[in-house]
């Protein structure tokens, strides 16, 4: 019997939600690491019992936790993230040089094949990896030293590396995204990187078509079609069919193309999901109606999904790592809100149910499909 395990990071701890394949009745475990910010939890595709969690606090700094039993018990592992060499400076909000300083881990991405190998996207933007189950961390400095790093500037949430996508067909290829530098790709396992932002247009930067400086909020990829990428930018939903070498806009008939998360259906590479947010000034759904939008055409034509979602007086946000899909036959779609709700649609978005409704603000949602 298949089952799912949903890993939820919040401002005040982590929660683990489990259900059988029907996804109707849920067990809720948590809070784990209560009182700490948990930016992200992610399970290993190679060993679902191996889960990594980023636990942080303004008082006590960064901790990385590891579970080897599916989240029942946890062990603190290594938390030393040291940039390689002299990290130099990036640009501060006021345009002055600012020293590169490690602040927290935003995103953990375990290897597709090795449970002990995991990548960490951090603030200030950098990509680290561990080959020993999180005990020690080494930077992949080629990204930061790619040439434009001194011009990177933080977004409102900090200069975070928030997206790490591993290409299942090309182990040396990794995509990452940074707010507010843009998207980058390596084809040699992280030694060298190139910006992949051609086609992006951001009118809030001096050169709207600059090679770097775009506020990319999230990128998504279907594993069966890794050269096709979908991006939710600060404004604009974008698509690339050449591994990020060029992008074109697919916002189409969305009511607003501002938002944070974007996801791809597990079995339909042209079916994608976004949650439009009113604007960068007002981080809540338009008209107080919480609507997921689905495109079955890879963008441009979108339909609102509302059944089971609040359609009045809803003013929550859905953050960039807060949407996920499972891979059961009927693809489940999940998202969490800053109001503490976690929603599931067991039928690809047609109908939605609330799993929990009063958690702390949700920062991230991931799901493991277990057999």
């Amino acid at each position: 019997m298949s089952s799912v395990r949903v890993l939820v990071g919040t401002r005040k701890g982590a929660f683990i939600l489990t259900s059988d394949g029907k996804r109707e009745k849920w067990d809720v475990s948590g809070p784990h690491f209560g009182g700490w910010e948990v930016y992200h939890l992610q399970g290993s595709p190679a060993d679902p019992n191996r889960i990594y969690a980023s636990q942080s606090s303004g008082w006590f700094g960064q901790v990385v936790q590891r579970s080897d039993d599916g989240g029942q018990t946890w062990e603190a592992v290594g938390n030393k993230f040291e940039y390689e060499g002299d990290p130099g400076t990036h640009m501060w909000y006021d345009g002055t040089p600012h020293p590169w300083e490690f602040k927290r881990v935003w995103h953990l991405e375990p290897s597709l094949t090795d449970p002990d190998w995991v990548y960490a996207g951090v603030e200030d933007a950098g990509l680290f990896h561990s080959r020993d189950g999180g005990q020690t961390w080494q930077e992949l400095p080629g990204l930061r030293q790619q040439g434009s790093g001194s011009n990177w500037m933080p977004g409102a949430g900090g200069m975070c590396l928030h997206t790490v996508l591993l290409d299942p067909t090309s182990p040396q290829r990794i995509y990452i995204a940074i707010s507010a530098a843009g998207a980058f790709r390596t084809d040699d396992g992280g030694h060298t990187w190139k910006p992949i932002n051609r086609g992006l247009f951001s009118k809030y930067i001096p050169d709207p078509t600059a090679e770097v400086g775009h506020c990319v909020h999230r990128i998504a990829m279907h594993p069966a079609r890794p050269n096709t990428l979908f991006m939710q930018k600060h404004w604009d939903v974008m698509r690339s069919d050449d591994a990020g070498d060029s992008w074109h806009e697919v916002s189409g008939d969305l009511p607003t193309d501002f938002g944070f998360p974007i996801q791809v259906h597990a079995h339909e590479p042209e079916t994608i999901y976004v949650v439009p947010i009113k604007s960068d000034s007002e981080h809540y759904p338009p008209e107080g109606k919480l609507r997921v939008y689905r495109s079955r055409t890879g963008g441009n034509q979108w339909e609102p999904l509302t059944d089971g979602l609040p359609q009045s007086n809803c003013f929550v946000n859905i953050l960039r790592d807060s949407m996920a899909v499972d891979s059961l036959d009927s693809c489940g779609v999940y998202f969490g809100t800053t109001g503490g709700q976690v929603y599931v649609s067991p039928d690809g978005g047609d109908h939605w149910h609330t799993i929990v409704r009063d958690l702390p603000a949700v920062v991230s949602v991931e799901v493991q499909t277990l057999s």
Partner: protein, 98 residues
């Protein structure tokens, strides 16, 4: 034995259930206490002193014998009453935020 009182979150992180007592050779300093804590309770590495700079994390405070030692040098000897175990060293999470 040096007695140390830790904030709730660090006791949970370190899976500490009883008193925290550390054997430290004289002279007893803040730096030695932090080092001994991290050796005895490895999950606490980097939560009191910054791993990169070795300095006190900004929202950590040290109190001893009703005095604020937060801005003392890590090499400065702590009061005799702390070194003897008569008084605890208090490691506090600063009152800030929600």
């Amino acid at each position: 034995m040096i007695r140390v009182e830790l904030p709730y979150h660090l006791r949970v992180l370190g899976k500490i259930t009883g008193d925290v007592e550390l054997a430290i050779d004289a002279p007893v300093t803040l730096g030695k206490v932090v080092e001994a804590l991290e050796q005895s309770y490895p999950p606490l590495r980097g939560t009191i002193g910054d791993l990169e700079t070795g300095q006190r994390r900004p929202l950590i405070r040290f109190f001893a014998c009703q005095e604020d030692w937060s801005f003392a040098n890590f090499d400065a000897p702590l009061p005799a009453a702390v070194a003897s175990g008569q008084e605890p060293l208090l490691i506090i999470g600063a009152i800030a935020g929600g």
